[in-house]
């Protein structure tokens, strides 16, 4: 699916669906896991370690016949805050979206504090977002901060 054009690798176009671009390369598999892309049966193409001026190495995901509601897609803002979405209909981009970090994160991330009750008993995690640009999450339970570098997906 990868074609060479002007010395650049490009992923082939899709007819209908969603393209998620500007994912930091190292966050690709976290995005896949957050959106449960390993469990859908639609055609998916992804490329990673592509050169990007903004991110150094970026990844891109193209999903045929798949669309997301904002609430669902905003979950990836935790690991890919600069991600951009292109909604494709009939081979053209009909809408562009950016992701937005929600004010509260429930049940996606893991608290980085090993002594937090959420890492010791079955509890749905809950965080308030104290900083959005460089994502910083404050655990509702132990009140400790989990920063972007340490965000792990449940």
């Amino acid at each position: 699916m990868l074609h060479k054009k002007d010395n650049k690798l490009e992923v082939s176009a899709i007819e209908n669906g969603t393209v998620i671009d500007h994912i930091p390369a190292k966050a690709l598999f976290k995005v896949i896991s957050i959106l449960s892309l390993d469990k859908i049966d639609k055609q998916i193409t992804f490329g990673t370690n592509l050169d990007s001026k903004k991110l150094g190495k970026k990844a891109i995901i193209k999903l045929s016949d798949t669309f997301f509601i904002d609430k669902e897609i905003n979950k990836i803002a935790l690991v890919a805050p600069q991600a951009k979405l292109n909604i494709i209909r009939n081979y053209s981009v009909v809408e562009k979206k950016v992701v937005e970090v929600p004010d509260e994160i429930i049940g996606i991330a893991k608290c980085m504090n090993p002594k937090c009750i959420t890492n010791n008993e079955r509890i749905t995690t809950r965080f308030s977002v104290v900083s959005k640009r460089e994502v910083r999450l404050k655990c509702h339970y132990c009140e400790k901060i989990t920063d972007q570098e340490h965000i792990e997906i449940v």
Binding site: N113, K115, I117, E121, R122, Y141, C142, E143, K144
Partner: protein, 302 residues
């Protein structure tokens, strides 16, 4: 405040602190031995503690209430593998109020969401211990006559000490000036200094315990623990620099008082104990009045 759990010092407003403190004063002046008649308070101590548990139990008993519970998780069903979830669900059937201490952080918040019965956090790991903060406020108020515009020296382990962090959060609402006295390795974390900057409050940082001490209204001592140091030589070098000795108190204000959350190891020399400025034992007694006030207001009896 009826039915309002006390998990974190920031759960209560400044007005609520003041209400608790005036109620504590009422209990100190006029004991009420029948207020908690027919009330059962469960003290669930998943981790041992002397002062906190005994002062809570004493507070309940002096108000005529009854206490059930355990002082160590080895004498509870936790040893059989029961989850905290189940323990709280069950205990809620037996009491009107839960007081709990647990070595894991966030347990009191979790417990307060599992039950309709109010929960008082008596310490969750290194996180919060709000009743300690309220008794510190009470001790400051009693010795200074006010909480406003005071100068507080915080000494020792300012990096990990949860009591100094909570006290800072609470006192920052009363235009306090802070002096942070600690070795480099145990300095006040940036997030708290940032918080004070946002409020426009003054603070200084210093390594020398005696510098500017004449301006202090309160010296709040904490323990410098060996295991906090990454470099054992650094510990040896600094350990004696943060021991308060009676001689150092010369020239301090007449009504300056020395506070310590206790237990003390060696950071306050025994020769300070006889000085009228040593207040830490009375501070521990104040814990009983303050806990009476907290319990009575949460149960809606005052």
């Amino acid at each position: 405040m009826k039915n309002k759990s006390l998990v974190s010092i920031t759960d209560y407003t400044k007005d609520e602190y003041l209400r608790i403190l005036s109620l504590a004063d009422e209990f100190e002046k006029k004991p009420d031995p029948s207020l908690l008649r027919d009330k059962v308070v469960a003290t669930l101590f998943f981790e041992p503690s002397t002062r906190t548990r005994l002062s809570f139990e004493s507070a309940v008993l002096k108000l005529g209430g009854r206490v059930i519970g355990f002082s160590d998780s080895s004498s509870s069903s936790v040893t059989k593998g029961e989850t905290l979830y189940d323990t709280i669900k069950i205990v809620s059937n037996y009491c009107d109020l839960i007081v709990m201490r647990h070595p894991l952080e966030g347990t009191a918040r979790f417990a307060s969401e599992l039950t309709n019965i109010p929960v008082i956090n008596a310490g969750d790991g290194a996180n919060q211990h709000p009743t300690q903060t309220l008794l510190d406020l009470y001790s400051i108020l009693k010795t200074q006559g006010t909480l406003d515009n005071l100068t507080i020296f915080m000494v020792g382990d300012l990096k990990y000490g949860r009591t100094v962090h909570s006290l800072l959060m609470a006192m920052s609402q009363f235009k306090t000036t802070f002096h942070f006295v600690s070795p480099d390795e145990l300095k006040m974390p940036d997030e708290y200094k940032y918080y004070l900057n946002c409020l426009g409050l003054k603070y200084t940082e210093q390594k020398d315990l005696t510098a500017n001490i004449a301006g202090a209204d309160i010296i709040y001592m904490t323990r410098v623990q060996k295991e906090r140091f990454s470099d054992p030589i650094e510990y040896e070098r600094t350990k004696n620099a943060y021991i308060l000795k009676n001689k150092m108190l010369e020239g301090t204000k007449e009504n300056m008082r020395v506070l310590h959350p206790l237990p003390r190891v060696n950071e306050i020399d025994l020769d300070v104990d006889a000085n009228p400025k040593a207040y830490y034992f009375t501070q521990a007694l104040n814990g009983v009045f303050v806990r009476q006030a907290i319990i009575a207001s949460i149960l809606g009896l005052k």
